[in-house]
């Protein structure tokens, strides 16, 4: 067998290796996560009623002047409830302003939860219809946004914030924005 024939017989192997590499890469990704078009844009409209006092409305000016975490949660969402302790810790650290959006929830359930487990949020919006959520591209809570001092969305995380996620993903980004 000549050298050129031997080399040619490697071509299918090379092609398959390249395709195999992309497969291996894709298998590691959660393809259900959707990239957010809000990144590096000013925050969308944010004027839900205040959960604690529905006669008042929140305003997106609340995101200006400090780094903010906006956490979209609900009492019916068990994963949201399981990341609660970490939000209490984040609030106690006073590192960021923590704003909550109670999404498609029963107001009384939310108030009871806060009363029983404590309130880590500076402000909480009550999105009964889910329309505020639509403005923020919410599709699978819990979802948490990092918003910088100028009110620009810098990062979106879908899923539970574990301690590891907090330390490796959130903390560096937040410190860089301070």
């Amino acid at each position: 067998m000549t050298i050129s024939r031997a080399l040619k017989s490697f071509i299918p192997f090379i092609i398959l290796s390249v395709i195999g590499f992309f497969l291996w890469q894709a298998l590691g990704e959660d393809l259900r996560k959707i990239p957010s078009p809000l990144i590096n844009e000013s925050t969308p409209e944010f004027s839900p009623p205040n959960l604690l006092n529905p006669k008042l409305q929140l305003n997106k000016k609340l995101f200006l002047g400090h780094v903010t975490l906006l956490n979209v949660w609900a009492t019916w969402c068990s994963v949201c409830m399981s990341e609660y302790p970490i939000f209490m810790d984040i609030a106690r650290s006073h590192l960021v302003s923590v704003v909550g959006l109670d999404y498609k929830d029963e107001r009384t359930d939310a108030l009871n939860w806060l009363h029983e487990h404590g309130n880590p949020f500076n402000e909480i919006g009550y999105d009964e219809s889910g329309n505020t959520g639509i403005d923020w591209g919410v599709y699978g809570i819990p979802e948490t946004f990092i918003i910088d001092k100028q009110g620009v969305v810098r990062y979106k995380y879908v899923g539970k914030i574990s301690r590891v996620v907090w330390e490796k993903t959130f903390l560096p980004k937040i410190l860089a924005l301070q």
């Binding site: 959707i34 990239p35 078009p37 969308p44 498609k104 889910g130 329309n131 919410v138």
Partner: protein, 134 residues
């Protein structure tokens, strides 16, 4: 026996053909048609292999309500799609748009198929001409 057949036949009356868009009423037929088209062109982000038309997920119902109310307010289909793409990105389009970024996605499989067939034919012809006696 014919009653057995009749009963079996009744099982095939497929209730999923019942048009879920009957729940949304519009003043003009044009709006109704636009709604039907839109909900088949947009993805449900909860059950991501379904269109909004097929899905009963909470978010799908919310989005259908939003689309219906925007149509009634006079928004065009293009404006409504733009509204959703602004919030959810192009993933919300069930069919990826045909752009210079996505032409590989659209034409790649066909190109690979043609390439594969081409090299197969080439191999067969080449081997055929080798086997022919000198």
């Amino acid at each position: 026996m014919k009653y057995v057949f009749l009963l079996c036949g009744m099982l095939f009356i497929n209730s999923t053909f019942a048009n879920a868009t009957d729940l949304y009423s519009f003043s003009t037929e044009n709006q109704q048609r636009q709604f039907n088209t839109l909900i088949h062109e947009l993805r449900c982000l909860v059950c991501q292999n379904q269109t909004l038309a097929e899905s009963n997920a909470g978010l799908a119902l919310d989005l259908k309500n939003q689309i219906a109310s925007k149509l009634r307010l006079g928004f065009s289909s293009a404006q409504i799609k733009e509204y959703l793409i602004q919030r959810y990105g192009e993933t919300i389009l069930y069919m990826p748009p045909l752009s210079k970024h996505t032409w590989i996605l659209w034409f790649g499989p066909f190109a690979l198929l043609l390439g594969g067939c081409g090299s197969l034919i080439f191999c067969i012809v080449a081997r055929g001409s080798e086997a022919r006696p000198g």
